[in-house]
Amino acid sequence: MTADLRTYLAHVELPNPVLTASGCGGTGRELAHFSDVHRLGAFVTRSITMAPRAGRPTPRMAETPSGLLNAVGLQGPGVEAFLDRELPWLAERGARTVVSIGGGTVTEYTALARRLAGAEGITAVEINLSCPNVEDRGRVFARDGSAAAEVVASVRAATPYEVPVIAKLSPDVADVVAVARACVDGGADALAMINTPVGMSIDVDRMRPALAAGTGGLSGPAVRPLAVRCVWQVHAALPGVPIVGMGGVATGRDALELVLAGACAVAVGTALFHDPYACPRVLRELEELLQERGFDRLADAVGLAHRPVGAQPRTRTDLEETSL
């Protein structure tokens, strides 16, 4: 018997919990050579901005042990081209699309949400809060609970009620739970974590920073413990809020680790650069691991690592005894 892998992002049902991480799946077309985009739990787009963006100069990427530093700078064609060319293609193929949005001001996020509101084929909106806030000397929104909450509230207000709004958090904060709580209070239906922590690498041969931008976001298995910690803390504090866990997921075991910490869905990011077939593989491995452990449903494993010491591994057996 196969395990029931359905999961929910707020009220939206996804057939399986494996998503692409924002900015790691291109437009979807690139991955479609290797596996069908509609077989993903959902396809998460790169962060869409209002105007076209050329991004950062090269070199944009540096490899570090079990990690990858990147400073792409949200290169993209802008929201109009996205709605013209990219979203219809995804909708045509039956992909559930989570649109990630990025902006420099609250107004820009709101305008984006309003522009997306009329579009067909959007499953959810993810707010990339790791963008520099132009009005706050470039401090990223995710660092400051009240700035993050302001963005979430205005995007929530501009988005149709049936489309969940997901706030994507950064691990580069003193208290991730405080920011998570502020976002939920601001109206976020779900949380995604983690965005890449900021790192840096210096090329000792050239004796210069390896990236043209100096610093960049660190991803890959190197950051997985950070992701597990953030998901754990937030799930413990806000057990009712759906969490999309991400950060260095490369195998089904990694996905299960985040699920046990409290994530109800898992996104695969940097692993896609290494293995374009990573999403279906992670899903298959996750399903096998759940079956080996005797789970009928993915939902039973979500946050299970939080159970008290000495508790039964499965807490739902009480349901079988009732006549209801």
Binding site: C24, E30, A54, G55, T58, P59, Q75, P77, L272
Partner: protein
């Protein structure tokens, strides 16, 4: 894109040293079938639980039909990833994705083409030379490198090309200098109609400048560092002028690696030109 890329687990058939370079022949029928000159492949390095997350991209030197189809990669050891690859033995398996990128466009009618290769960039010229000769084109080679042991494929070029000019910066083989020093003479002697080039960015820039002077088209295959090779990571971008005159940051892996030389803004590689689409502070189209 000529064919959609595939991911295969290929078996290493043979390994050999070619002067300063390593060559690996890998059985990969799916890739060999779809290959066109100019395509490249990416390899996952370091084994299953590798700490090296980015794939390494390599030009394909040769495609042969034996064992259902093999591809040969030529590379120099530059870091831990290529060192791992150089240690592979026959019967080891490799995770390959390919063929990737936009191949070289071929002329419709027979003409004279000069093929320029710097260092192991020459590897991808031989499949191109074959395809051009099948179309009745005359092919002339210009191959160069800093020293004799790093000139790749001189023998094969001599057999294949109408003429072959070799250059080394230390004068240990052929003419002393770089490929761009001798290129004007070769183009003039052969009355060339087109130039194809592979190699480092500085060489491609020089080759394009020469081609522009002669008023002939140059097709150049750029080498940019990339993480995925399939177009999702957005790290290998190059400023390229489009048909509409607008500069865009294009991915070398999917919109390239072959570009029309005069369209690539070589002077601005490594920057975002102020007039590029979406440049910071620029006007938005």
């Amino acid at each position: 894109m000529a064919g959609s890329p595939v991911q295969v687990t290929g078996t290493v058939l043979t390994t050999r040293r070619v002067d300063a370079y390593h060559a690996l022949t890998v059985v990969a029928p799916g890739i060999a079938d779809r290959f066109r000159p100019g395509h490249f492949v990416t390899v996952a390095v370091g084994g299953r639980d590798s700490s090296m997350l980015t794939r390494r991209a390599f030009a394909v030197h040769d495609v042969k039909p034996d064992y259902g189809g093999t591809v040969e990669l030529v590379f120099g050891v530059r870091g831990a990833g290529t060192a791992w690859l150089a240690d592979r033995k026959a019967r080891d398996t490799l995770d390959l994705v390919g063929p990737l990128g936009r191949p070289f466009p071929l002329p419709r009618d027979p003409c004279t083409c000069v093929l320029v290769g710097d260092e192991h960039g020459s590897a991808s010229l031989f499949a191109l030379g074959d395809a051009l000769q099948q179309r009745g084109c005359r092919v002339d080679f210009v191959l160069g490198a800093p020293s004799a042991d790093r000139v790749f494929g001189a023998l094969r070029a001599r057999r294949m090309g109408e003429t072959t000019t070799l250059t080394t910066e230390d004068g240990s083989l052929g003419m002393r200098g770089t490929v761009t020093d001798v290129l004007p003479g070769v183009i003039a002697d052969a009355r060339a109609d087109a130039v194809y080039a592979c190699g480092p960015m500085a060489t491609l820039r020089g080759v394009t400048a020469v081609a522009v002077e002669f008023g002939i088209p140059a097709q150049v295959a750029v080498e940019e560092s990339m993480a995925c090779g399939i177009g999702v990571c957005m790290t290998c971008v190059v400023p390229v002028i489009g048909d509409d005159g607008l500069t865009r940051m294009l991915r070398a892996c999917t919109e390239g690696p072959v570009f029309r030389g005069e369209r690539v803004r070589f002077d601005d590689v490594g920057t975002i030109p102020f007039d590029a689409l979406g440049a910071p502070g620029g006007r938005h189209a």
